[in-house]
C-alpha cells in the first residue's frame, strides 16, 4: 500500500504515532469482539500447550488484536512475534463455543503486520522472489525443482553433505537442506489433460494440481487421478490453473492471493464440472474460503461464493460418491494423522478413516491426539524452525506408540514434515497419503471381482471379461488357422 492510499484509508491519521490496523483488510470488529475470553481454546492450541503462556494462546492473540484495534498497543515486533508463533492450525476455531472465526482474524492480522516488518534486504528479496516470481508460475517452480532434483540425484548433494559445505552458510541451512525431501523421478503437471473414468462415467470433476504437491509428490498426484477414474469420474486437470494462494495468505500477501483466486475461478469455471476436487487439505480450505477472500470484489464476490461451494476435498468427495470399496489386500498396520486444514477447518475427520478402514487386510490404529498439529504449517517450518521441530518430535512420539508401519495423512506439508520426522526418529515407518494407500489396494485387486455387482466395478469387470472373450476368440481363430495350415 502506498503512502497516498494510507492517508486515504486513515483520514486524519496519515502519520500515526504508533502503527495500527488500517484499510479494508483490517481484522473485522464483529469477528474480534465475538471472543468473550472464556479460555476454552487454550487446551486446543499447540503453542499454548508447549509454553503454558497466555501470550502464545488464541485468546491471548485475540486480546492483542483487540488492544491494537483499540489503539492501546501498536504494531511492534514485541506484539507480532506472538502472532507469528501461531501455526494457523485453527484447532481453536473448532472448540470455540462463540464461533470466533480465528483463521480469518489471524490472516487479516498477519497481512497488517507485513508492511511493518523489519527484514534484511536479502530476506525481502527472497520472500518477494518466492511469492511473486516463483509460486505463481508453475513452469518456473518446475524448473527450480528440476534443478534441485539434479542436485539430489547427480551425487552433488552427497558431495556437499560429505564436505560439510553448508556449515559455511547461514545458521539453520544444514537443518533445512536435510529436511528437503527427496524429489521424485517424475513431476505432475496441469496440461489440460483428461483422465477417463473406468466404466460408465458417474461424474466429471476438475482437479487442482497445486504448486508444490505435483513436484514433491508427482506420483501421489497420479494416484489421485487413478482413484477418481477407478470410481467412475472423468478427471480434467485444467491448464492455466495456478497455486491456490494459501502460502500468500499465510504470510500476509492478500492482494497476490486474490489475484490467484480470480485466475483459478476463471480457469475452473470455464467448463462445466460437478466438483472441483482438491487433494491437499491446505489448498482445499483456501479455495473453500475464496468467497470470503473476494467478498469486497464486486466482479468476483458472487462467483467466488459459487465456486467455493463446488470445492470438495478428495476424501470428502470419494465417501459422498460413494466410492467402491477396494478388493485388494494391504497387510499394513496404519495410523492416521489428521491434517489441521482437513480436521479443524473443513471438519473432515471421518472420511479418511472410512477410506482406510475399507481396505481389506489393513489394521487401523488411532494415535493419541491425532488432531494435534505436527508442526508443518506452511512456511512455519522455516520461520519458526525450533518450535516446528518441538511439535514434530512430540508428534512422532505419539506415532511410534501405535506401532504402525504406515503413517497416513492428507496434506503435502504434513507428508514432508512427517517424513522428516521419521528420519529424525530413525524409524523405518513410511508416510503415505490416504489416496496412495487406496490406489495400492485397488491395484492389488484380483483380476476377477465377485460377480453380480452393478457398479463402476461391475462395469469394469464386464468390460474386461468382454475383452478377454474377444482376445480368446481371436487367438482361437489364429490357432485354428495355424492348425489348418499344418
Amino acid at each position: 500500500m502506498t503512502t497516498v492510499e494510507k492517508a486515504i484509508t486513515q483520514p486524519g491519521q496519515a502519520t500515526p504515532a504508533i502503527p495500527l490496523f488500517s484499510g479494508p483488510d483490517a481484522p473485522e470488529e464483529r469477528d474480534l469482539y465475538k471472543c468473550v475470553h472464556c479460555g476454552f481454546c487454550l487446551q486446543a492450541c499447540p503453542t499454548y500447550l508447549e509454553t503454558g503462556l497466555e501470550t502464545e494462546s488464541p485468546r491471548g492473540r485475540i486480546a492483542l488484536m483487540k488492544a491494537v484495534n483499540e489503539g492501546r498497543l501498536g504494531l511492534t515486533p514485541t506484539v507480532f512475534r506472538h502472532w507469528d508463533l501461531c501455526i494457523q492450525c485453527r484447532a481453536c476455531e473448532n472448540v470455540c463455543p462463540s464461533g470466533v472465526p480465528y483463521g480469518r482474524l489471524i490472516e487479516a492480522t498477519i497481512a497488517q503486520v507485513e508492511p511493518h516488518r523489519k527484514l534484511t534486504w536479502m530476506q525481502r528479496r527472497m520472500a518477494d522472489f518466492m511469492l511473486n516470481s516463483a509460486l505463481p508460475y508453475q513452469n518456473r517452480l518446475t524448473a527450480m525443482m528440476g534443478a534441485m532434483r539434479l542436485y539430489q540425484q547427480s551425487g552433488l548433494q552427497r558431495l556437499v553433505r560429505k564436505a560439510r559445505l553448508l556449515k559455511l552458510g547461514p545458521k539453520g541451512l544444514v537443518e533445512m537442506e536435510r529436511s528437503l525431501p527427496a524429489l521424485p523421478d517424475s513431476f505432475f503437471a496441469a496440461q489440460g489433460q483428461l483422465v477417463h473414468s473406468i466404466g460408465t462415467p458417474r461424474a466429471r470433476v476438475a482437479l487442482l494440481s497445486g504448486c508444490l504437491m505435483p513436484l514433491f509428490h508427482g506420483p501421489a498426484m497420479r494416484t489421485v487421478t487413478r482413484v477418481l477414474s477407478r470410481n467412475g469420474c472423468d478427471v480434467s486437470v485444467p491448464a492455466g490453473q495456478v497455486c491456490c494462494g494459501a502460502i500468500h495468505t499465510h504470510i500476509g500477501d492478500l492482494e497476490k492471493a486474490r489475484a490467484m483466486a480470480r485466475r483459478n475461478i476463471d480457469v475452473f469455471t470455464a467448463s462445466r464440472v460437478d466438483a472441483v476436487v482438491v487433494a491437499s487439505a491446505g489448498c482445499g480450505i483456501r479455495m473453500k474460503e475464496y468467497g470470503h477472500l473476494l467478498r469486497n470484489d464486486p466482479a468476483y464476490a458472487e462467483k467466488a461464493e459459487q465456486f467455493s461451494a463446488m470445492v470438495k476435498d478428495i476424501h470428502e468427495y470419494l465417501v459422498a460418491l460413494p466410492f467402491v470399496p477396494p478388493q485388494g489386500r494391504l497387510d499394513y498396520k496404519v495410523t492416521y494423522q489428521d491434517s489441521c486444514h482437513l480436521s479443524h477447518t473443513q471438519r473432515i475427520t471421518a472420511q479418511p478413516r472410512t477410506l482406510l478402514r475399507s481396505i481389506p487386510g489393513l489394521t487401523f490404529v488411532e494415535m493419541e491426539n491425532s488432531t494435534r498439529c505436527c508442526g508443518a504449517g506452511g512456511t512455519y517450518t522455516i520461520t519458526q524452525r525450533e518450535f516446528s521441530l518441538r511439535l514434530l518430535d512430540r508428534k512422532m512420539a505419539a506415532v511410534r506408540e501405535t506401532g504402525a508401519d504406515v503413517l497416513a495423512t492428507a496434506n503435502p506439508g504434513c507428508v514432508i514434515q512427517l517424513q522428516y520426522g521419521t528420519q529424525r526418529a530413525e524409524t523405518p515407518m513410511r508416510v503415505k497419503y490416504v489416496t496412495e494407500l487406496l490406489d495400492e489396494a485397488y491395484s492389488n485387486e484380483p483380476r476377477r471381482p465377485p460377480p453380480g455387482q452393478v457398479t463402476a466395478e461391475g462395469a469394469w469387470d464386464e468390460e474386461r471379461q468382454e475383452m478377454r472373450a474377444r482376445w480368446k476368440t481371436r487367438s482361437g481363430d489364429r490357432r485354428r488357422r495355424i492348425r489348418g495350415r499344418e
Binding site: H37, Q43, G52, T55, L64, L73, S98
Partner: protein
C-alpha cells in the same frame, strides 16, 4: 523502571523467560473468563513449589500483592489483579504426580487440566467428578480456589467433596500440608476453609483428589415442554420421587432458540423449555430409575421425550445444552452470566420473576440452569456499545441475585464471589458475619497480600481488616 529490581529477583527464581513484564505482554493477563479487567505489574510462571514459595517471599518483601491464576477461565474475576501486583500463573505445573487406583486418589499439581485428569484415570475406570463447563481448559488449582461445581455435582458434589488434602504456600512463603490422603483428618478442617477461599488465603501447589468409579451405565433423557412451569414442576417431582439423577439441566425458550440456530439439535420452534436428565450407576438401577424419571416427566405434559442409550446419541442430546452459552452470541453481542442458587421448590416462582425483570428492563434474559440443585444461570443479553446497556445489565444482575437470596437461596452456585459479586455480600451476610470471615482471614496472616480486593465488599473490607489487625495487635484472640 521502578520495579526492575523486583523483576530481577523474580527472574533468578523462575528463569528469565517466565517473568512477563513487558506492557505488550501483560495485556493478555488483564482478563479471565469474566467481564472485569485489571493489569498486573508482572506475571510469573513458577514450575515447582519451591519457586512459588520463593516468588511469594520476594513479592512480600517488596510489598506487592500476589494473585494466583490457573487457566483464567473463572467467571467472577478471581484471577484478575484487582489491585495490581504479581500474577502467579500455575499453568506450568501440569504434572499428575501419582494415580493410586486402589485407594482411588490422585496427587496432582495445580495446573493439571480438569478433563485431562479424568482422561488419564479413565484406564482405571475412574474419574474426577467435578465437571465445570470449562473442564476442557480449567485447572484443578482453579477448581480448588473457587470450589467449582458442574452439571454432575447434583449427584457427586462439588470440588470440596473431592479434595482430600493440599500442599499450600502460605503468605510468609512457608509450605504446609492441610488434610491428607484419607477421607477424614483429625482437628480443624483447614482443607475445608481453604477450598473456595478464592486465592485469598494460600496458593495450592499440590492437591490430593478423590477419584470416583466411572458409572457402569448411563442413560440420558431429553424432555421438551411447551411451558417453563411444566418443566420446573417436573424437576421438583423427580427429586421428590427419591431419585438423585447425575444431572438435571434446563434451558428456556430463548436459550433453545440460540442453541437450535447454532447446533441444530432439532428442538421444536415453539418449545418453552427443555429438560435434560442423566441417570447413571449400576445397569439394573439405571433401567429402573430412568423408567421412573420418564414416567414423572410424562406427567407434566411434555411435547416430546427422547432417550439416548449410547455415547453418540447422548452426545447429540447434550449438544444443545453444551452449545447454548456460546450460541447466545447469535442473539446479542454480549451476555452477562449470573450464577445464583435457589431452593428447588422456588424454581417456578423465581423463573416467573426473572421474566418480569427482563420485561421491565427491556433486556432479554436467556436461562440455562443446573435445575437439579437449583443453580440458575440467567444470561442477560446486551450490547456494550449501546450507552447505558452495561449499567442496566449490572443493575438487573444485582436484582436477580437479591431475588435469589430473598427466596432463601445464595449468591453463587459455583463461580465464586471474586470482584463480580463482592458488593452483593451484604444481601446474605450481616456485618457480624463478614467480620468473622475477616477474622478468619486474619488468622492466615496474609496482610491482604493474597488476591486483595476480592470477596469482601470494597468499602467494608479494608476497615474491617485494619480494625481486626488492631485487635490482634492488642493481644485479643484472633479467632472468636
Amino acid at each position: 523502571m521502578a520495579h526492575e529490581g523486583l523483576f530481577q529477583e523474580l527472574k533468578v527464581v523462575v528463569g528469565e523467560e517466565y517473568v512477563v513484564h513487558a506492557p505488550e505482554d501483560l495485556v493478555v493477563f488483564e482478563y479471565d473468563g469474566s467481564v472485569d479487567k485489571a493489569l498486573p505489574l508482572a506475571v510469573v510462571l513458577p514450575a515447582t513449589t519451591e519457586q512459588v514459595s520463593g516468588v511469594v517471599k520476594i513479592a512480600r518483601s517488596h510489598g506487592v500483592p500476589i494473585v494466583p491464576r490457573g487457566a483464567g477461565t473463572g467467571l467472577s474475576g478471581g484471577a484478575i489483579a484487582a489491585k495490581g501486583g504479581i500474577v502467579v500463573a500455575l499453568t506450568r505445573m501440569t504434572r499428575i504426580l501419582e494415580i493410586d487406583p486402589v485407594n482411588r486418589l490422585a496427587v496432582v499439581e495445580p495446573g493439571v487440566v480438569n478433563l485431562e485428569l479424568s482422561m488419564a484415570t479413565a484406564k482405571y475406570g475412574l474419574f474426577f467428578a467435578p465437571d465445570p463447563s470449562s473442564q476442557k481448559a480449567c485447572t484443578i488449582g482453579g477448581n480448588v480456589a473457587e470450589n467449582s461445581g458442574g452439571p454432575h455435582c447434583l449427584a457427586y458434589g462439588v470440588t470440596t467433596n473431592h479434595v482430600l488434602g493440599m500442599e499450600v504456600v502460605l503468605a510468609d512463603g512457608s509450605v504446609a500440608w492441610v488434610g491428607g490422603r484419607t477421607r477424614e483428618t483429625p482437628g480443624y478442617d483447614l482443607r475445608g476453609i481453604l477450598i473456595g477461599s478464592e486465592g485469598t488465603l494460600a496458593i495450592t501447589t499440590k492437591a490430593v483428589v478423590r477419584l470416583v468409579k466411572l458409572p457402569e451405565a448411563v442413560k440420558t433423557l431429553l424432555a421438551i415442554y411447551p411451558r417453563l412451569n411444566d418443566a420446573s414442576a417436573a424437576v421438583s417431582d423427580i427429586i421428590a420421587s427419591g431419585i438423585v439423577p447425575a444431572a438435571i439441566e434446563m434451558m428456556d425458550d430463548l436459550a433453545i432458540q440460540a442453541a437450535e440456530a447454532a447446533v441444530h439439535a432439532g428442538y421444536p420452534a415453539d418449545a418453552g423449555a427443555v429438560l435434560l436428565v442423566e441417570v447413571d450407576g449400576l445397569k439394573e438401577s439405571v433401567e429402573v430409575e430412568s423408567a421412573l424419571v420418564e414416567e414423572v416427566c410424562r406427567r407434566h405434559n411434555p411435547m416430546e421425550i427422547r432417550t439416548a442409550e449410547d455415547a453418540a446419541q447422548r452426545e447429540r442430546l447434550w449438544a444443545g445444552r453444551k452449545g447454548a452459552l456460546g450460541a447466545l452470541g447469535r442473539l446479542a453481542p454480549n451476555y452477562y452470566l449470573i450464577d445464583g442458587t435457589i431452593p428447588r421448590t422456588k424454581l417456578v416462582e423465581v423463573m416467573a420473576r426473572i421474566k418480569e425483570i427482563s420485561a421491565e428492563a427491556g433486556l432479554p434474559i436467556a436461562n440455562v440452569l443446573h435445575a437439579g440443585d437449583g443453580n440458575l444461570h440467567p444470561c442477560i443479553l446486551f450490547d456494550e456499545r449501546k450507552p447505558g446497556d452495561t449499567e442496566r445489565t449490572l443493575e438487573i444482575g444485582g436484582r436477580i441475585l437479591k431475588l435469589c437470596v430473598d427466596v432463601g437461596g445464595v449468591l453463587t452456585g459455583e463461580h465464586g464471589i471474586g470482584v463480580e459479586k463482592q458488593e452483593y455480600m451484604p444481601f446474605m451476610f450481616t456485618e457480624d458475619d463478614m467480620a468473622s470471615m475477616a477474622r478468619l482471614k486474619l488468622a492466615f496472616a496474609t496482610d491482604d497480600a493474597f488476591n486483595p480486593g476480592k470477596v469482601f465488599p470494597k468499602g467494608a473490607s479494608c476497615v474491617d481488616i485494619s480494625q481486626m489487625k488492631a485487635v490482634a495487635r492488642a493481644g485479643a484472640g484472633a479467632f472468636v
